[in-house]
Symmetry: C2
Subunit: 115 residues, 2 copies
DNA sequence: CCAAGATACCTTGACAGGTGAGGTACTACG
DNA sequence: CGTAGTACCTCACCTGTCAAGGTATCTTGG
């Protein structure tokens, strides 16, 4: 049953910022990109997706504007800000630390000390 | 400042189960082992720690008994159950999947498709 | 001897993020 | 015309974290 969502919880914002680093996009498209990149195994729930974008905008990491398509559903495009870029690099480092920490804590380690 | 706790959120139970896999222990000791293993960079907050143990016991993954030390603070020891063992191996697999997924989503990837 | 710190446990209330369930509006297809 | 896809949004609920408070015992330094 899909990927345990609590494991992704701390990476939601970072994943979104990573996509916007490549250029402006809109929530729905980013989610479909994630689905494709994960080989169909993961995408955000819609409620999670849109609240994440709102959170990121409110904290000044991204800014938005309406697309001007005159056909089909309207799209809200997002741009990553300087603050968002910094946040991303920071989060990326934190992820690397956390990953190594968890790896060392959930692995089947050999004894590290006598006793 | 320390490790972002949201990144650890989904691994709390797995980390505890991993320790109990090596033998019975008590909450405080496990937390200090975590602190030592992380090189002093991480340990659970007490409230988080004890609620996690209670959660695991209520879900049948661990069982507890009071230690019989007749000196010092009393200790509640925990034993991992068969259910807990299965849970651990399951969680460990999920962690590996999640880790790879996040790695692929927060990395600076090269283009994967034309456009 | 007594204060401080370590050991070891516990609970409560607030808060943040994820999510099910619901909604809107447009386009395309058969 | 009904269904499915695109694309957005909101609300109420649940779960896990954590600051803050508490209890009790033992050890160590002044």
């Amino acid at each position: 049953m899909s990927i345990a969502s609590d494991l992704l919880r701390g990476s939601t914002d970072t994943i979104i910022l990573a996509h916007l680093l490549k250029g402006d996009s809109y929530a729905y498209e980013i989610n479909k990109n994630i689905l494709r990149k994960s080989g169909g195994s993961f995408e955000f729930k819609e409620a999670t997706l849109y609240t994440a974008f709102r959170r990121l905008e409110q904290s000044g990491c991204i800014s938005s504007y309406w697309g001007d398509e005159d056909t089909g559903a309207r799209r809200r495009y997002y741009t990553i800000t300087t603050k968002g870029r910094n946040m991303f690099y920071q989060n990326q480092k934190e992820w690397q630390n956390a990953r190594e920490l968890i790896d060392s804590l959930v692995g089947i380690w050999e004894d590290t000390d006598g006793k």
